[in-house]
Symmetry: C2
Subunit: 322 residues, 2 copies
């Protein structure tokens, strides 16, 4: 698959139609009043595996040849991509090897194991994750499923944006998406700009993890030091290659949010939607809590994931005031 166009996202949506959940659009008059702007949220926390990552992993695997799919897949992640990959492989009846750091939460390892995936542990300090994945792929004849640097992963992630546009009565004025590797933003930007050229497409990053903002300013990918943020899914030190190619051309802006704003966004999702959203998943909504947006244009927000233990959630939300 070459560089993604809108038609590839339409095709991905057809391919995924019976396999992914059509996640709801949530809105609340009380939330609108509190934020001073009309917001609609695409609740990808209710996607299978609890995050949008399932769309990309599944689409990538369905694009493999029958022979490749039979041999199995390998990927690296300590979080949502690992779980999405192992569930997709389980459903498609193939082998999955997941490369996880040896300090990954035991609960996450357990979830991956329960899906029948093999875990390959490595040490963050002494081993290079990407080299390990490449070695495992070569040794065992497995196909690599990247978490964002793949055209078919980007196309799969883009189905979030396609669904959103189909579910709304009219296009939003602004679309906000969290920015980690950049695959979700890239996929959603392609389809949104194709369907509604007047919708502003904006990525949101943690203040300490502003690798995409810096890279866009410099006009090339730059590496930052390891970000310290509660948004554990967005701790990227450099934008992924393919997503950056897209985002460089299509994003209207990149905004920065602080952890305290992310926590406030998590609190709002609990109060007005009764849902637990993980920090990375609340990052786009966090851009609204400090009144940066106003006016009559609807702002669409992707709540990208909800995988967080209830105790962790409450210790974050409680430690920060109210």
């Amino acid at each position: 698959m070459g560089r993604v166009q809108a038609v590839d996202i339409h095709n991905a949506a057809v391919r995924l139609s019976r396999r992914v959940s059509l996640t709801p659009i949530l809105a609340s008059a009380e939330l609108n009043r509190e934020l001073g702007v009309d917001v609609v949220c695409k609740a990808e926390n209710l996607q299978r595996t609890g995050s949008f990552k399932y769309r990309g992993a599944m689409n990538h695997m369905l694009n493999l040849s029958a022979d490749e799919l039979t041999r199995g897949v390998v990927g690296a992640s300590s979080g949502n991509h690992a779980y999405a990959l192992s569930v997709a492989a389980n459903i498609l009846g193939t082998r999955a090897v997941v490369v996880m750091p040896n300090d990954a939460p035991s609960r996450k390892m357990e979830a991956v194991k329960t899906q029948g995936a093999e875990i390959y542990q490595y040490s963050r300090s002494s081993e290079n994750r990407d080299s390990l994945v490449e070695e495992l792929a070569a040794d065992k004849g497995l196909s690599i499923v990247p978490s964002s640097d793949s055209w078919s992963v980007i196309a799969g992630a883009g189905t979030v944006g396609l669904e959103l546009m189909q579910q709304l009565a009219r296009p939003p004025g602004v679309l906000l998406m969290p920015l980690g590797g950049g695959g979700l933003a890239a996929g959603c930007a392609i389809i949104t700009k194709a369907l509604s050229c007047n919708t502003k497409v904006i990525g949101v990053e943690p203040a300490t993890g502003n690798d995409t903002a810096l890279s866009l300013m410099k006009g090339q990918r730059v590496t930052i030091k390891h970000p310290i943020t509660i948004a554990d899914g967005l701790r990227h030190t450099i934008p992924s290659y393919r997503p950056f190619l897209v985002n460089q051309g299509l994003l209207d802006d990149v905004l920065i949010v602080h952890d305290s704003e992310i926590v406030e966004a998590m609190r709002l999702c609990l109060r007005y939607f009764g849902m637990l959203i993980e920090p990375s998943g609340a990052c786009a909504l966090a851009a609204l809590v400090s009144g940066r947006f106003s006016g009559s244009d609807t702002v669409a927000v992707v709540l990208s994931g909800g995988n967080i233990h209830e105790n962790t959630f409450h210790s974050l939300v409680r430690s920060d005031g109210s």
Copy 2:
């Protein structure tokens, strides 16, 4: 509108299609493992106003004549029906009077007021709610919107079951719904039996609020004393007239759950779906926590509402062990 048939529920679904949310079906392999049965949940907590009640109230109001709708509506409830009614009236641009007990939570009164509805407070101990509603209707020329004893409210509630059947790849072996006035169960039973005669349709009541179970045994509606249960939406002392006519003919069974099982069901929804479900909304799922069901048949469960303050939720879930 006369006694409801499947076609009326199809018509209600068309009438409501742009007005209600298509709520998602949620499932979790981990939840299935914990319960020992395959469960799919219809998440009506994500419906507008946070409960399925919006479907019935809106459908009833859309069935009024233009003249009736212009004059306005009146209804009694301290909970989800009150809020659903006031939001529906606000959207349709008409007057709403809501009869609420003077000890109703101030937060709920506030929410109703914010929608522009007028609140008429009464004393539970010295005044009769239903007579008050009838007097207000007569005095002010308003139409009464019952919370369950209305064919168009039942038809609106039945769209929950219709959507569920359309969303599932195959009909479930069992459908579990909470039983309060009985409108949700009646509507869902009509459409489910019409579409899949082999699906067992089962209502679930709090143990102390078993008015429908007792009434079905006796073959006529019986009155019980005011139930003491955390499921505040299911504290009915007698089944509603029209829903009972339907449920008498169509329900395969009625099950009883204890408050501790309801709390456990709330805990499971938080853990596996990251969602706050109110006690009444978790009542149907509570029937699964004690291993009453097993086997390979899928059990579909209606999570009927999610309107609960996070502090109340946590005090309930925490006070009961784990």
